[in-house]
Amino acid sequence: MLPWICSQHQQTLQGHTATVRALAILRNKNTIFSASRDTTIRVWNIAKGTCIDVIAAHTGTVRSLTLSKAEDLLVSGGDDGTASIWRIADNGLVRLHILNHCENGICHIALLEDGRAQVATAGFDGSLKIWDVEDG
């Protein structure tokens, strides 16, 4: 006897023109952020199943996304070696800072919120950098 989880497929969102590499969902379960090899970040309204913003975020694959606990900030990192800090607005994203990590690309990012907010970026060159969110 095996218990099974019974999941339902709900919807398919189409719009990206290349592989989708990272996702983030807001707690209200109404908004999704997606990052793609097409170099954009898309903002989706789940209730309506529509894309509400397409942002030319990086010049290469957008590889990593992370949300702040307060859900006021989104951080993206990509193959262009930069990370961007975005303010989450009602109708999309507003870029606050660009962090230049390295030329080899950023493979992963994390947001540290223990005390003052910091972003950690990990590069394909094997380096790790930590940035203050306040002044970029």
């Binding site: 006897m1 095996l2 218990p3 099974w4 989880i5 019974c6 999941s7 339902q8 497929h9 709900q10 919807q11 398919t12 969102l13 189409q14 990206h16 023109t17 290349a18 592989t19 989708v20 590499r21 990272a22 996702l23 983030a24 969902i25 807001l26 707690r27 379960k29 999704i32 997606s34 990052a35 793609s36 989706w44 789940i46």
Partner: protein
């Protein structure tokens, strides 16, 4: 990590997939997402394996073809995406956990 005295204890250990018809060729895990209720593993040849946190309950979500590269969860909501350029949304409702009797098949 000198000075640390932590002994990690493995509480669940099992194969992600034993069904060879699902993974006819080598498929490796690409993403793991852990929530209060689920452990979700996505694979490089598609397929998303959902387990209860004790490892027993299991479901295979098969979206479209290609590698799954990204997962995100919010309570019972799962979002997956990958090389087919689309984003799929799923409801992992725990209320719908069914008892599956092997004898009935």
């Amino acid at each position: 990590m000198e000075g640390l005295d932590v002994l990690g204890k493995c509480v669940v250990s099992q194969q992600i997939s034993s069904d060879i018809t699902i993974d006819p060729e080598r498929s490796v895990p690409t993403v793991i997402q852990i929530t209060e209720n689920y452990v979700i593993v996505a694979m490089s040849r598609g397929g998303i394996f959902v387990f209860a946190t004790n490892g027993t309950a299991k479901q295979i979500l098969s979206s479209s073809e290609g590698a799954v590269w990204a997962l995100a969860t919010q309570e019972d909501m799962l979002v997956s995406a990958g090389t087919n350029n689309t984003i799929e949304t799923w409801n992992l409702a725990t209320a719908l956990v069914l008892l599956f009797y092997a004898a009935s098949f």
